[in-house]
């Protein structure tokens, strides 16, 4: 009985300390914790995305995604996207290699012509695969550029029964300020698993631009990671929105480096 009481006491203390520690975190510390807990070396998944135009038109596409971090860097990744459907675009692929000190490199493979072409890297504000996500969003979710932003913690809020930190991110780096498509972001982070559940984006003139919302968050067994299996991005200024469904997410299962080469791209 005494043992049980002691366990309860220790447990309560740990919970209290954790809660206290969480309560005392500032904006930057929250983002650092998030960064630490969401950092990945490898990621593969199947993606089905549906673009909805403001007039109700839809585009439905499926692809496989392979991502690998350049271990010599903190936030540079290589990613390969291979389209699976519709049938007549199957095999169309893009390969992107991010570089720390020079411009990113990007290649496109068109199976109909068995042709690989290097294409100029997209602007940060460019749409990612025609979705409402931009390349900037993609990079930020893979690795939040902590050194380029200032973070301010806002009052906590709840989303779908989940208690969240709310952090406002504003660029402090001149180049980031110039190239980013946003004046600020408000990020909702689950206090328990440090998953981003919601982000509100404000455009350069401070107007509400779009909202990212994550749902169906699941723990990935044996990895300590949590990932949403459905996300939705709504552009409030245009009325367009995108739904993305993930399947078969695998994190940190090592990938063959040859996947991220032109030879592999052309062999598929």
């Amino acid at each position: 009985m005494k043992k049980l009481n002691l366990t309860l006491l220790i447990g309560s203390l740990i919970c209290f300390q954790l809660t206290y520690a969480q309560q005392s975190l500032n904006g930057r510390q929250i983002m650092e914790t998030y960064q630490e807990r969401s950092k990945i070396d490898f990621l593969t998944s199947q993606i089905n995305y549906i673009n909805h135009s403001k007039k109700g038109r839809i585009q439905n596409r499926s692809l496989n995604q392979f991502i690998m971090r350049d271990k010599s860097t903190i936030d540079c990744y290589a990613f390969l996207l291979q389209f699976e459907s519709p049938k007549d675009i199957k095999g169309t692929s893009t390969l992107t290699i991010q570089n720390e000190k020079k411009a990113d490199q990007q290649w496109l493979y068109l199976p109909a012509m068995r042709m690989t072409k290097r294409i100029s890297p997209n602007k940060k504000t460019g749409r990612f695969m025609g979705t409402e996500l931009t390349y900037e969003d993609l990079n930020n979710y893979l690795s939040e550029p902590l050194e380029k932003y200032g973070y301010e913690r806002k009052p906590d809020q709840e989303i779908n029964g989940r208690q969240c930190f709310v952090v406002q991110a504003i660029a402090t780096d001149d180049s980031e300020m110039k190239n980013s498509g946003y004046s600020s972001r408000e990020i909702w982070i689950d206090q328990e698993n440090f998953t981003v559940l919601k982000t509100i984006f404000f455009d350069k003139s401070g107007e509400l631009l779009k909202t990212y919302q994550a749902e169906d968050v699941r723990a990935l067994a044996g990895t300590g990671h949590f990932r949403p299996y459905r996300i939705e991005i709504r552009n409030h200024q245009t009325g367009n929105w995108t739904e993305i469904y993930y399947a078969d997410i695998q994190i940190d299962k090592p990938l063959d480096q040859n996947i991220f080469t032109l030879n592999y791209l052309q062999s598929k």
């Binding site: 007039k55 007549d88 290097r118």
Partner: protein
């Protein structure tokens, strides 16, 4: 008539009743709604409109405004920065779809470089070096996606195209666009155009001119009355009668839920022209009898006895004539038929109650100064000449009518918006600049339905479409075309260094993958503008340099013919859309409706007058000046080149209304005079009094509405002088045709039988 005399005997009851009804009707005015657009105006089951709607269903309704920056050479740093800043400013305009703005600043270049494919924006980095600017110029010149579309090939004009939300409010968009034009103007010239801007400029310009000139015209009409009668009462009473008629009619519209449209806006003018003549006849009769009366009441009673019945007949017949507008398929013209019918009935009621009661209640006023007595002599001389030479006059009329009838068949139909403006108007200059330097500002959408899912990617379909498109581009007045094949062609050139031609047939996979690439880099609206979501239907945008509806018809039928050549055996369906197509239909319905309306209104007048006068001959006589005037007006429009559009088509309602009035009064007077006089004397008497009253009405309206012809806007100008000319024609036709016909029809009689049934 008994009721009218009863009401005259109860002046207080009559005036209070009129006041109460007027107040109730005035309340209805506050409920009036305005409908500015023509959406839903045409019958939705019409094949052209059904096709138009189908294109909208699959490709959405798209209205675009266009900004142009004109400079000696737009390839300089300052102008290019201005273009980028203007594009950002356009994003902030109300109702502009932020992701559907096209300019050099928003589209990707997609060009082939030594190292690969460059997908950066044209204006990502704007350099001031001549080398870089020349390179940009060359890059654009070799890019069919932008050259001639977003930048003129002579480098003098750069364009920003912004699509608008379906529910845009034209006035707000126009105001915002004007602010941008003023903000960025100089040293470059900034132009704004596009259908929503043109419509707004026309509406604001016309309503500005009409609100300025129509009150002036109405004032001049009443001043004309004053100069005719030289008595203030003779002006104020008909003016009050007309104003009350307008209040009642507009109140009725409010209560009945009939909106104010571009058509019913003409109501005040038509009511002034038609209803004031009722008042003139009454006042003329009043002064005629005042000389022999001992009191105002006696003069009022005798005037009512004299002209009450013809006014009543005129009002009812005009209302029936207006009802004939119901045959139109255009909603606002049908509505105007109902409005006009009630308006004429209201004017008749007010004229036959207010004027007798008011003039009876006022002190007897004798008028010995009625002006224009010289007209009596002239009309008499003319009438006698015609009476004597009836055969010659009838032959002359027959030839004239035949020539003008032929000319009427050459009348041009539909409205050419750009010609509405004065030559130096910003709207006209902008439209001309875009037409001169680019592909044209009017758009026709050609939708080809492959009838099966994903089939637009099929190589055979794509090749047929490419051939069709290149032939459409050769049609007259077509400035250029654009379809998904232009995108694919450009990609093929960039990726494969090959152009699309018969030696380079595309595979389905190629088309799919190129479309996929475009989809990945473009905004969703960009692709859905050209290809539907099932990739089953493709759209060719046809840019037209002309705003002339006849030219649009040529293109329309040319496309239909070409389609049957390239897509035989029902392999695909063709549907045409775009604002141009809607206007073609509108024009067709105006013509069809106008012909039916004229025939029916004439039949109504014929039947009504035949029944009322118990004689077909009398019915026939009533319609003769009306028919002649209509033929003459349309004939002159054909010769001068005035188009039959919405506003000019309203003239016939006025011609019929005024024509009935003049005919009935003239015939009635001649008949009464003929009972106690010879034909010659009867003609003299009719010319002395009735023709004079008709002349007062005609000359006052001519003087008043001629003012409209100084407007810079053609529709207002044409409406003004056509209205004035119509009044002159109806007057002349009444005083010329009747003596000629009387001479032929009653040649043998000396004192003869009454032509019309007695009104006593």
């Amino acid at each position: 008539m008994r009721i009218l005399f009863y009401l005259l005997s109860k002046p207080k009851l009559t005036l209070v009743s009129l006041l109460v009804i007027s107040l109730l009707m005035a309340l209805g005015i506050s409920k009036l709604e305005v409908r500015n657009n023509f959406d839903g105006e045409l019958p939705q089951e019409d094949p052209v409109i059904a096709g138009f709607n189908l294109v909208q269903d699959h490709f959405d309704k798209r209205s675009a405004i266009l900004f142009g920056i004109e400079a000696e050479d737009i390839y300089n740093k300052q102008t290019l920065i201005k273009l980028r800043e203007m594009t950002d400013a356009v994003k902030g305009l109300p109702f502009v779809l932020k992701d559907e703005i096209k300019s050099l600043s928003t589209v990707q270049s997609l060009s082939s470089e030594d190292w690969g494919i460059d997908t950066s924006g044209f204006l990502d980095d704007i350099s001031s070096s001549n080398f870089d600017l020349d390179e940009l110029k060359s890059q654009i010149a070799h890019n069919d996606m932008v050259s001639g579309k977003l930048v003129s090939s002579d480098g003098r004009l750069a364009v920003i195209i912004a699509n608008l939300d379906d529910d845009f409010i034209g006035a707000e968009v126009f105001k915002g666009a004007q602010e941008i034009r003023d903000r960025f103007h100089g040293p470059e010239i900034i132009h704004i155009t596009g259908a929503p801007i043109l419509v707004e400029e026309v509406q604001q310009g016309i309503s500005g001119d009409t609100s300025k000139f129509i009150p002036l015209a109405i004032l001049l009409v009443f001043i004309g009355f004053y100069f005719s009668f030289r008595k203030l009462r003779a002006v104020l009473l008909p003016a009050l009668m007309v104003i009350l008629s307008i209040v009642w009619t507009m109140g009725f519209m409010g209560w009945a839920g009939l909106p104010l449209t571009v058509v019913s806006n003409a109501l005040p003018v038509i009511m002034v022209a038609v209803a004031s003549s009722y008042g003139i006849h009454y006042m003329y009769a009043y002064y005629k009898h005042a000389k022999d009366s001992i009191s105002g009441k006696e003069a009022a009673m005798r005037a009512l006895q004299n002209v009450g019945r013809p006014i009543l007949i005129t009002g009812i017949t005009s209302a029936l004539g207006s009802v004939s507008l119901l045959v139109f398929d255009i909603v606002s013209l049908r509505e105007f038929g109902i409005i006009g019918a009630f308006g004429f009935v209201f004017a008749t009621i007010i004229c036959l109650t207010l004027l007798p009661v008011a003039s009876a209640g006022l002190k007897l006023q004798i008028n010995s100064k009625i002006r224009f007595s010289f007209i009596t002599g002239r009309v008499n001389t003319l009438s006698q000449f015609v009476f004597r030479n009836s055969l010659l006059v009838i032959s002359f009329y027959t030839v004239l009518i035949a020539i003008l009838l032929y000319s009427a068949t050459t009348i041009k139909v539909g409205d050419d918006y750009t010609k509405f403006f004065p030559a130096n108007h910003k709207g006209r200059i902008a439209a001309n600049t875009f037409n001169d330097h680019l592909m044209g500002i009017r758009l026709m959408d050609v939708m080809i339905d492959s009838k099966s899912y994903g089939s637009i990617k099929n190589a055979e379909f794509a090749n047929n479409l490419r051939n069709l498109q290149s032939e459409i581009a050769k049609l007259p007045f077509v400035g250029g075309t654009f379809s998904y094949l232009d995108i694919i062609g450009h990609m093929e050139e960039v990726f494969n260094n090959k152009s699309l031609d018969t030696n380079n047939p595309l595979t389905t996979e190629q088309v799919s993958q190129y479309l996929m690439l475009f989809e990945m880099s473009a905004d969703p609206g960009d692709l859905f503008e050209l290809v539907d979501e099932n990739q089953e239907r493709a759209k060719i945008q046809v840019f037209i340099k002309s705003s002339n509806p006849e030219d649009h018809k040529i293109i329309y039928s040319g496309i239909e013919e070409l389609f049957s050549q390239y897509f035989p055996e029902g392999k695909a369906d063709l549907h045409l859309g775009g604002d141009v197509v809607n206007r073609i239909s509108l024009g067709d319905y105006i013509v069809k409706g106008k012909i039916q309306n004229i025939i029916l209104s004439i039949i109504f007048v014929l039947i009504t007058c035949t029944i009322v006068f118990k004689s077909f001959k009398h019915g026939f006589l009533t319609i003769m000046p009306i028919v002649s005037s209509l033929v003459m007006i349309f004939g002159v429009m054909g010769i001068v080149g005035i188009r039959l559009g919405i506003s000019t088509s309203l003239l016939t309602a006025m011609i019929v209304g005024v024509g009935i009035d003049f005919s009935v009064h003239y015939l009635n007077a001649f008949n009464k005079n003929r009972r106690s006089m010879t034909d010659k004397e009867a003609l003299n008497e009719t010319s002395t009094h009735t023709a004079k009253a008709i002349f007062f009405d005609a000359i006052s309206n001519i003087a008043g509405f001629s003012v409209l012809s100084i407007s810079g806007f053609l529709p207002v100008q044409h409406f003004g002088w056509l209205l004035a000319f119509s009044m002159l024609l109806i007057f002349l036709n009444t005083i010329v045709i009747y003596p000629a016909l009387f001479a032929r029809l009653y040649k043998s009689s000396v004192t003869g039988n009454p032509i019309l049934v007695s009104t006593n």
